[in-house]
Structure formats: C-alpha cells, structure tokens
C-alpha cells in the first residue's frame, strides 16, 4: 500500500500564525481525518497542499510526484471540496459545470448526472439560491465526476444537518470501495470520523500532534474517573488531561495499565476521538 500524499517539513508563516514543520503521509485506501479546533491550521495546511497559499518551505508529493513540478497532472487526479462556497453565485449549476468540466481529461457526464440525480439537484438552479447543504452536495458532485484518485475536503460537514452529513459519509465509503483511492478530510466534528476514518492526524497551533490509526488510538486511550482524594502528584502525571470537580476527577490517559496499577478504585471508560483530541490540546496547553 503506497502513499497517496506526503507532506514533509511544511512551513508557512503569517504575522500571527504559522505552520511549523508539518509532516504526515496519507496511505492509499484510507480515509484520513485531519482534526483540530478552529484556527489550528487545518485550512492553511490544505491550502498549502493545493498551492492556494505559498508555503515558506517544505515538500508536498501527491501520487509520488512533486506538486510544484507536476501541478496540472496531479490536479487532474484530485477532487476538492473547499470549506466555503467557492462558486460563481450568479451562474446555474449547469453553467458552473460547463466551466469546471473541460479542465479534466477524465470528466464523466454520466457520473455527474448520477450524482446530481442522487442528490436531487436541478442543474438549472442558480447557485445563489442553493442551501449550504445543497452547495456541499454540488461541490462533491464536481469533485467526484472526473475519476479522482484523491479527495481532499476542507470541513465539508461543518454547518450541515445530520442527514446530509450521513449521506456525505455514505458517499465517501462508496468512493473508497473502488480501491486505490484516498480521502483527506478536515473537520472539527470528530463524531463523523468515528464512523468512517481509518487514520487520524491532529493539528494544533500549526503543529502536528499525532498521526495514528483510528482503531489503535481508540484502543490505547481511556477515560478514567475517580475520587479526587486518590489523586497525587505522581499519578497525575499519567494523564494527558485532567479535570476535577467537587464530585471527582475525569482524565484521559494512554497509560491505562499503569493507571490501573497505581490508582485504586477507578472507573475506566472508552474514549471518543473528541476526548483524545481535547486531551492532547489541553495537555499541550498546560
């Protein structure tokens, strides 16, 4: 299984924010969730990968080829859904498609029509009259109608109702069934990733905190609850994040066995991706 996307040593500096040494890889046949809170650097990373912002330094390879030297060839093989409406609002969907489709050598009108029908989109409808959900569906239709091998999506589920989000996840799963594909999907709604992601990458304050398989991550981390009186300076170090209230403490740890041994009378529960994400971010902020 090769890597579809490789990012190494990516730096991008702004006045008040910077991406610092962002490095990760996306294996083939995987849905990779790119998680982080708002302002963590997800969109900047995606924009740097796509060449929409100029990186200060670093290397980006897609399908094993350098992005800068093979931009047109690479972009012919990727489908992109950006976080906000990036269409010409006064055009109809049919007109917008007539602008985008000729750019791709593998454009399929058959696929386009199937997705438009599946999403109940009327091609003659003006883009300015579409709801947020319909815009996302149209963006996805354009991204999936040219046999793309990599789908890059920036916060596609943000602001969408659960039904549309579930349809999107279903489409992603269907897309992956074709084989040899990859999805890179940024979001701060981690519950979506619990259902579909294979790999997770966490970014915070412009730095990658971890890159791990979702199942490993969920197996390795646990939520531990107990009475405040059993906490001491030594066992506190076992936790990535720890919250205490009058009723007791709740902490996230990846040292479950050690915690079980050294802290008596604790309740161990499964964690969610959100718990792990927040634990890393809060842990890093301590």
């Amino acid at each position: 299984m090769g890597n579809i996307l490789e990012v190494s040593g990516l730096h991008k500096a702004y006045k008040d924010f910077s991406l610092t040494d962002v490095s990760f890889t996306l294996p083939e046949d995987c849905i990779t969730g790119f998680i982080g809170i708002n302002g963590a650097g997800k969109t900047t990373t995606i924009r740097a990968i796509l060449g929409l912002v100029q990186k200060t330094s670093g290397m980006i390879k897609i399908f094993g080829k350098n992005m800068e030297d093979n931009e047109q060839e690479i972009k012919n093989r990727i489908g992109v859904v950006l976080d906000e409406s990036c269409f010409y609002e006064d055009l109809t969907m049919k007109e917008m498609k007539s602008v985008i489709a000729p750019a791709y050598s593998e454009w399929s009108d058959k696929d386009y029509k199937e997705y438009m029908d599946r999403f109940s989109l009327n091609p003659r409808q003006k883009i300015s009259t579409l709801s947020k959900g319909m815009r996302m569906k149209f963006a996805l239709t354009l991204a999936l109608s040219h046999s793309a091998d990599l789908l890059i999506m920036d916060e596609p589920t943000s602001g969408l109702d659960p039904l549309i989000r579930s349809q999107l996840l279903e489409i992603m799963t269907d897309y992956m069934k074709q084989g040899g594909k990859g999805v890179f999907f940024s979001t701060h709604i981690t519950s979506d990733l619990e259902k579909v992601a294979d790999m997770l990458i966490l970014i915070n304050d412009g730095k990658i905190l971890f890159e791990q398989e979702k199942d490993d991550l969920l197996d390795n981390y646990r939520l531990i609850k107990g009475d405040n009186r059993i906490l001491n300076d030594e066992n506190k170090k076992l936790f990535l994040s720890l919250r205490t209230t009058d009723f007791g403490f709740t902490g996230v740890t990846n040292k479950v066995a050690e915690a079980q041994k050294s802290i008596p009378d604790i309740i161990i529960e499964k964690t969610t991706i959100e718990d792990i994400m927040l634990a890393h971010i809060e842990g890093g902020n301590k």
Binding site: L82, F87, Y88, E89, A103
Partner: protein, 214 residues
C-alpha cells in the same frame, strides 16, 4: 482550456458584456452621423479603450463578488498560469471584435474611413499600453484599488496638455524625423513594441498571480 475560462467571463457577466458589445458596435455609426469627415482612427481608439477597460472591469467586479471562486479554479487543472493567460486572450478577442465591427460598419457607411495598417497598429499599441499597465495592477491589488489607481491616472494625464505646454520649451525630441521613417518600418516597430509590451505585462501578471494567496 483558455477558451473555457474566457467563456466563464462571458457567463458571469453576460448581460453587461452584451450591452457593452452592442454599444461598442454602434459607436462607429454614431461617429459617422455626428462627424462624417472624421478619420476612423479616433472612433476606433475610443471603441477599443472603452471596450477593453469597461468590459474587463465589469467582469472583474462580478468576479470580485465571489473571491473564493478563483481558489476553486486553481484546485482544478486550470492552474494559475491559464487563468492569467485567459485574461490576455480576452484582450485580443475584444480588440478583434472592435476591428471587425469598425470595418463592417465603415464599409456600409463611409468606405473612405477604412483604417490603414498604421492606424490599427497605433491603436493596438495605445490599448496594449493601457491594458498592459492595468492588468498587473489588478492582479496585484484587486479590481477596486486598480479602478481607483486607473481613474487617478486618467485625471493626472488629463492635466498633461497643460504640463506639457510648460515643459515644451525644455523638450528637445525631434518629431520631424517621424514622417521620414518608411511606413513599413514604422508598422513593424509598432507591432513589435505592442508584442513586447503585451508579453512583458503578461509575464509580470503571471509572476504576481503565482504568488497571490487565494
């Protein structure tokens, strides 16, 4: 690919473009009625400048309403270079349209006002200088600021005759040499300078747009 990006400009500003193209088209008719003895040079120059700048600004203003659309286009195989080049092909198309309309209407109304090669090339050079200066500014600063810079420049230039009359005693360029240059050579020089200005402007725009954050 270029064709589809130009088609995009026509799609997003179809009503504006249609009206402006009709206005440009009837300009030679208006001139022929008001000033039947006027040479074809000035109406043609006016047609081209109005056509190029007004049309470009109309398209750019409508594009500026959807600033993220350029980002979407750049995620496709169109890439940045194609987007810049399309804007310059747009110039050539409008120039050709103006020339064809001017010629057709002159042939119908007053054949003596047909443009000679020198007039066409002179208008081409003037319009290339204006468009070629304007485009990199628009790519760099966006349509609103470019428009402001353009209007300010026009105002400054309109003060030109007054400034020029004051400076004239000190200007020592010998214009009397111009008529002695054979027309064929003059035309070649005009064409070459136009191509050079066009190429330099496009290269500057390509460089500016390649670094633009989308």
């Amino acid at each position: 690919m270029l064709f589809h990006l130009i088609k995009k400009d026509f799609l997003i500003a179809k009503t504006h473009i249609l009206i402006i193209l009709i206005l440009i088209g009837v300009m030679p008719l208006i001139y022929a009625r008001l000033e039947p003895n006027m040479s074809g040079f000035f109406p043609f120059l006016y047609m081209v400048i109005v056509g190029e700048i007004v049309l470009l600004q109309s398209v750019s203003q409508l594009e500026a309403k959807n600033p993220k659309a350029a980002a979407l286009l750049c995620t496709t195989p169109y890439v940045r270079n194609t987007i810049v080049k399309a804007k310059y092909v747009f110039f050539i198309l409008i120039f050709t349209y103006c020339y064809v309309m001017h010629t057709v209407i002159t042939l119908l109304v007053n054949k003596t006002n047909l443009l000679d090669a020198n007039s066409i090339l002179m208008v081409l050079l003037i319009s290339v200088i204006i468009y070629g200066t304007y485009m990199p500014i628009e790519f760099k600063y966006g349509v609103i600021k470019a428009k402001f810079i353009f209007i300010t420049t026009i105002l400054v230039i309109s003060l030109g005759p007054m400034l020029l009359s004051n400076l004239l005693p000190y200007i020592t360029i010998d214009f009397s040499l111009l008529p002695t240059i054979p027309p064929g050579i003059m035309n070649i020089v005009l064409a070459l300078v136009s191509i050079a200005v066009f190429a330099v402007s496009m290269m500057v725009s390509l460089k500016i747009f390649s670094k633009k954050e989308l």
